[in-house]
């Protein structure tokens, strides 16, 4: 006769459960399920979901020009009139080596299609070297004729600076603040 103790009922329960699982399943079945899980996890990223945030500026495989700082169509260049510093050894925000940013500048607003907001953009000329000559861009949004001088961008901001008539090289387009 089997000895009876307080935990015998638990042993009986676990044993019955384990035998039940062994009858209903197989090792092959377990491997098959694990395999399906692994393959499924690998396939999920291939599903056709939107991945706009992954590659901003890319549409249909080609770079969206409105988000490419080396293009005239770049959104910050909406009111520029000059050579893009991004093509001249600098960037849309900084002057190329060997040039100096003009203190006086032309300021306008541009709409960023990526976030739907308008921004104040400062178009500082870079001065001190001969004309860059690459990537001329003349978009002039909200520019006024020169007889409305305070909102005309047709001036060479390098002329008459402290450095006495240093030559114009290229133009930057710095974000100053949201335009609200």
């Amino acid at each position: 006769m089997r000895p009876v103790d307080a935990t015998a009922w638990l042993d009986f329960l676990v044993e019955g459960s384990a035998r039940g699982i062994a009858r209903r399943t197989s090792r092959r079945g377990l491997l098959g399920s694990l395999g399906a899980l692994l393959v499924g996890a690998a396939v999920v990223p291939l599903l056709p979901v939107a991945r706009g945030a992954e590659a901003p500026g890319k549409q249909g495989g080609a770079l969206d020009k409105s988000q490419d700082p080396t293009q005239c169509e770049y959104w910050r260049h909406c009111a520029i009139d000059g050579y893009l510093c991004g093509c001249c050894g600098g960037s849309a925000s900084s002057c190329p080596p060997g040039t100096e940013q003009s203190a006086v500048t032309w300021v306008g607003t541009c709409h960023n299609p990526a976030d739907g907001m308008d921004y104040v953009i400062s178009y500082n000329d870079c001065c001190g070297k001969g004309t860059c000559g690459r990537c001329l861009c003349n978009r002039n949004e909200r520019d006024t004729p020169i007889y409305v001088p305070f909102e005309s961008n047709d001036y060479d901001w390098c002329t008459g600076s402290d450095k006495a008539n240093v030559p114009y090289h290229c133009s930057t387009a710095r974000i100053v603040a949201p335009a609200r």
Binding site: V104, S122, E151, G160, V176, A177, A179
Partner: protein
Amino acid sequence: MSAVGAARLAAALAALLLGSDTALAYQPQVNYMLQCMGCHRPDGSGEPGRVPSVRRTLVRFARLAEGRRYLVSVPGAAQSRLTDAELAELINWMMDHLSDLPATGIAPFTAAEVTRNRRPPLIEVSATRARLIDQTR
């Protein structure tokens, strides 16, 4: 909605109805960026020998009747595309944010005052400015 917000909305709606450029009603800080900062620089200090600083003259001029006329009739102010109300709001903002001297006790500019003094634009800018500086020493 705050009173300021309601006033701004009303101004924007009025401008829309009038078909004016001022439909883009900006805060005075942004109007400073768009109308003044290009020459006077972000802090109002200008460029020595080329663009005058406003930092030590704005409040001093605003204490004199002729100085107040000067501030709204200098070409950059008088010929800007701001409405009279926007120009008044902008000069008040500049006194509060760009002046080295406190604007305490100075009456704020109003649209009516700007309307009275904005035209004709000042021609003798440098001479008038020098005279005002002498008067406020």
